[in-house]
C-alpha cells in the first residue's frame, strides 16, 4: 500500500501519498500540536494522490482549532479534484456530537420504564382477563388450535427440565435434612420436611422460575419482534384486537401448563426425598411413604397449585406487557426480554411470600 509521508518545512507541512481513513491520523497528529500554539500552518497538498473524507475532516478540524487559537490552516497546491472534495465539505455551525446519557439519567429512565411497564401490565391484565372470560363464553374463534400449540410449548416441552430440576432439588433437600435430623435419631422426619417444602414452596416456585426462563422470555421476545415488524399494527388495522388474538391463547395455555408442570415437579421432588430416605437413611420405602401420607393434607398440595396459577398469570402479563410495549428496534426487544424475566422473578417471589404469609396467619 502506498504510504503517507509528511515533511516539515518551517510552517509548511508537505504531504505525499493518499490522505484517506487509513492515513489521515498521521496528518492530524502533525496538525494538532501546531495549531494549538496559534500559528499559521500551510498544508501542501500537491503531492497528495487521493484526498478522502477523513483527510478533509483532519483539515477541517485543524482549521477550526487554529481559528480558536488565533491562527489559520491554509492549503497550497491543491489539484482540481482536491478542490472539488474540499468544496463539498462544509463547516457547519459548531454543534457538539451527542454522547450517551450519564449513569444517573440512565437509572432514572430505567425506573420510569419499569413503572410504565407495571402500569401497562395491570391495564393489560384487566383487559385480557375480561376477554378471557368473554371468549370462554363465546368460544375462541379458531384459536383453539393456537391455545393447544402454546400449551405444548409452555407445558410438555418444558416437562423434562422441570422434572429433572425438581428431582435433584428433592435429593439435595433430603440430604441436608437427613444430615441434621439423624443426629437426633429423627431420620423419619425427613419425609415430613421434604413433603412440606416441595408441595408448598419448592415445587411451584422452581417450576415457575423454569417457565419464566423458557416461556416468559420467549413470549416477550416473540411479541417484541412482532411489534418491531409492525405485525401488531397490522392486526389492529385488520380490526383484530391484539390482546384477544395474541394474549388470550397464551393466558389459557399458561394457566393450564404451570399447575400441570407443578404437579410433575411435586412428584419428582417427593421421589428425590424417597431415594435419599431409602439409600442414605435405610428407611423402608413403605415406611417413608406412609410417613409422608400420614403427615401431608390435601391443603398442602392445593396451596401450591393455587400459587402456581397466580405465578402463571404473573408470567403471562409481565411478558406480554414488555413484549407489546412500543419498540424502536432489535436492541429494544433484547432489553424488554431481560426486563420481563427480571420483573417476573421479582414479582414471583413477592407473590409467593405474600401468599405464604397470609396462609400461615390463617392456619394459626
Amino acid at each position: 500500500m502506498e504510504q503517507l509521508r509528511i515533511e516539515t518545512d518551517g510552517d509548511t507541512l508537505r504531504v505525499r501519498g493518499p490522505l484517506t481513513a487509513e492515513t489521515a491520523a498521521a496528518l492530524w497528529r502533525a496538525l494538532e500540536a501546531r495549531v494549538a500554539e496559534g500559528g499559521d500552518v500551510t498544508v501542501d497538498l500537491s503531492g497528495v494522490s487521493r484526498l478522502g473524507t477523513a483527510g478533509a475532516a483532519a483539515l477541517a478540524e485543524g482549521s477550526a482549532r487554529a481559528r480558536a487559537a488565533g491562527g489559520r490552516v491554509v492549503v497550497a497546491g491543491p489539484r482540481p479534484e482536491h478542490e472539488e472534495v474540499l468544496e463539498q465539505v462544509v463547516l457547519p455551525p459548531v454543534r457538539p456530537h451527542r454522547r450517551r446519557a450519564p449513569f444517573l439519567e440512565h437509572l432514572g429512565a430505567g425506573a420510569h420504564g419499569a413503572g410504565a411497564a407495571l402500569a401497562r401490565s395491570l391495564r393489560l391484565a384487566g383487559g385480557a382477563a375480561w376477554l378471557a372470560i368473554a371468549s370462554a363464553w363465546r368460544g375462541p374463534r379458531g384459536r383453539f388450535a393456537e391455545t393447544v400449540r402454546h400449551l405444548v410449548r409452555f407445558g410438555s416441552d418444558g416437562a423434562p427440565v422441570v422434572v429433572t430440576i425438581a428431582l435433584l432439588l428433592g435429593l439435595a433437600l433430603a440430604f441436608q435434612a437427613a444430615y441434621q435430623l439423624r443426629q437426633f435419631g429423627a431420620s423419619i422426619f425427613v419425609a415430613n420436611l421434604v413433603a412440606l417444602s416441595v408441595l408448598r414452596e419448592l415445587g411451584p416456585v422452581m417450576t415457575a422460575v423454569v417457565v419464566i426462563g423458557r416461556s416468559g422470555s420467549s413470549i416477550a421476545a416473540e411479541l417484541g419482534t412482532m411489534v418491531v415488524r409492525e405485525e401488531v399494527d397490522a392486526l389492529e388495522v385488520m380490526g383484530i384486537d391484539p390482546v384477544q388474538y395474541l394474549v388470550v391463547p397464551r393466558l389459557y395455555a399458561m394457566t393450564i401448563a404451570v399447575p400441570a408442570l407443578t404437579v410433575f415437579a411435586d412428584a419428582a421432588g417427593l421421589l428425590g426425598g424417597l431415594l435419599i430416605g431409602v439409600t442414605y437413611l435405610d428407611i423402608a420405602p413403605q415406611a417413608y411413604l406412609q410417613q409422608t401420607l400420614r403427615f401431608v393434607v390435601p391443603g398442602d398440595l392445593l396451596i401450591g397449585l393455587f400459587k402456581s396459577v397466580l405465578f402463571a398469570w404473573v408470567i403471562v402479563f409481565v411478558a406480554v406487557a414488555y413484549g407489546l410495549a412500543p419498540k424502536s428496534g432489535p436492541d429494544t426487544v433484547g432489553r424488554a426480554t431481560t426486563a420481563s424475566v427480571v420483573t417476573s422473578i421479582f414479582l414471583l417471589v413477592l407473590v409467593d411470600t405474600t401468599v405464604t404469609t397470609l396462609h400461615t396467619i390463617w392456619l394459626t
Partner: protein
C-alpha cells in the same frame, strides 16, 4: 364537500414525536371510488399521515374520520367494525412470520367471515394468483424476496374487498415490470371492485399510471391537493421539482471548507 363522498379526511392534523413536528395542520380529503396518491419526499410525513388515518397514531391536535367514524376517539367495538371494511398494506409488508403466506391471506377471512373453509381456500388461491404468488402459498414470509412479501401483503390487505385500501409505497423497491403489475391491480380494485385506494408513493411513473387525485406533502404540510392534471399544472416550484424530477438545490449549512483553507491572496 359532504362527508358521504369521502372515505377518509383529516382536518388541522398536528403530530409531534418529542420536539420533531411531523405533521403540521394537515387538511386532506380522500374521495370515494378514487385512487388518491399521497406524494412527497422521504420524511415528509406520508406514512405518519396514513397511520393517523387508520388510528394507529393519535394526533396531538386536529381530527380525522375513516368511513365517517372518528377512529381515534371511538370505542373499540366501533373501531374494529370500521376497520373490517379497511385494508392496509404496510411499507415492510408486516406479514406474520409464524404463518405461511396462505395462512396470512386467510386470516382476515377466518376472523371476520363465516364462509365455508373450502370457499376461503379458493379465495386465497385466487387472490394469490392475481398477485402472481400462486406457488408461494405454503412458504413462510421469510423465504420470500422483498417484492414477493409486498405482493403477499397486498393479497392479505385486499382479500375482503375492502371499501378503502391504504397502501404504503406499494411498488417501491420492486422491478419495473412487477411494479406495473401492482399498479394494474390497484386500478382493477378501484374500477371493478369499488375499492377506494389511498396510496403513498414517490414514484412518478406509478402516479401517472394510477392517480385520479394527488395530495402533496412537504415537510409535514399539504402544499397541494386535487386532480392530478391540476396539481401537475401548478407553478409552485416544489411541485415543479417533483414532477420534473429535479433535485432541489442542496441546502448549505455552512461555508465550504475550501474557502476556509484558501490562502488570503488567492481569495481575491
Amino acid at each position: 364537500m359532504a362527508d358521504v363522498d369521502l372515505v377518509a379526511w383529516a382536518r388541522g392534523l398536528d403530530l409531534a414525536f418529542g420536539e420533531r413536528r411531523v405533521l403540521r395542520g394537515v387538511d386532506a380529503d380522500f374521495p370515494r371510488g378514487a385512487i388518491t396518491c399521497v406524494l412527497g419526499g422521504s420524511g415528509s410525513g406520508k406514512t405518519t399521515l396514513l397511520k393517523c388515518l387508520v388510528g394507529l397514531l393519535a394526533p396531538s391536535a386536529g381530527s380525522t374520520a375513516l368511513l365517517g367514524l372518528d377512529i381515534v376517539r371511538a370505542p373499540a367495538a366501533e373501531r374494529e367494525a370500521v376497520l373490517r371494511r379497511v385494508g392496509m398494506l404496510f411499507q415492510q409488508g408486516a406479514l406474520f412470520g409464524s404463518m405461511t403466506v396462505g395462512e396470512n391471506v386467510r386470516l382476515p377471512l377466518e376472523q371476520h367471515t363465516r364462509l365455508p373453509p373450502a370457499l376461503m381456500d379458493r379465495m386465497v388461491d385466487l387472490r394469490l394468483a392475481q398477485v402472481g404468488l400462486a406457488d408461494a402459498r405454503d412458504r413462510r414470509p421469510s423465504e420470500l424476496s422483498g417484492g414477493m412479501q409486498k405482493r403477499a401483503a397486498l393479497a392479505r390487505a385486499s382479500i375482503l374487498d375492502p371499501e378503502v385500501l391504504f397502501c404504503d409505497e406499494p411498488s417501491a423497491g420492486l422491478d419495473p415490470v412487477v411494479s406495473a403489475g401492482i399498479d394494474e391491480l390497484l386500478v382493477f380494485f378501484a374500477r371493478r371492485l369499488h375499492v377506494s385506494v389511498v396510496a403513498i408513493t414517490h414514484e412518478l411513473s406509478s402516479v401517472e399510471r394510477i392517480a385520479d387525485r394527488v395530495v402533496m406533502l412537504v415537510g409535514g404540510e399539504v402544499i397541494a391537493q386535487g386532480a392530478l392534471d391540476e396539481v401537475r399544472a401548478s407553478p409552485d416550484p416544489r411541485l415543479r421539482e417533483f414532477f420534473e424530477r429535479r433535485p432541489p438545490p442542496t441546502e448549505r449549512l455552512g461555508r465550504p471548507l475550501l474557502d476556509e483553507l484558501r490562502p488570503r491572496d488567492a481569495r481575491r
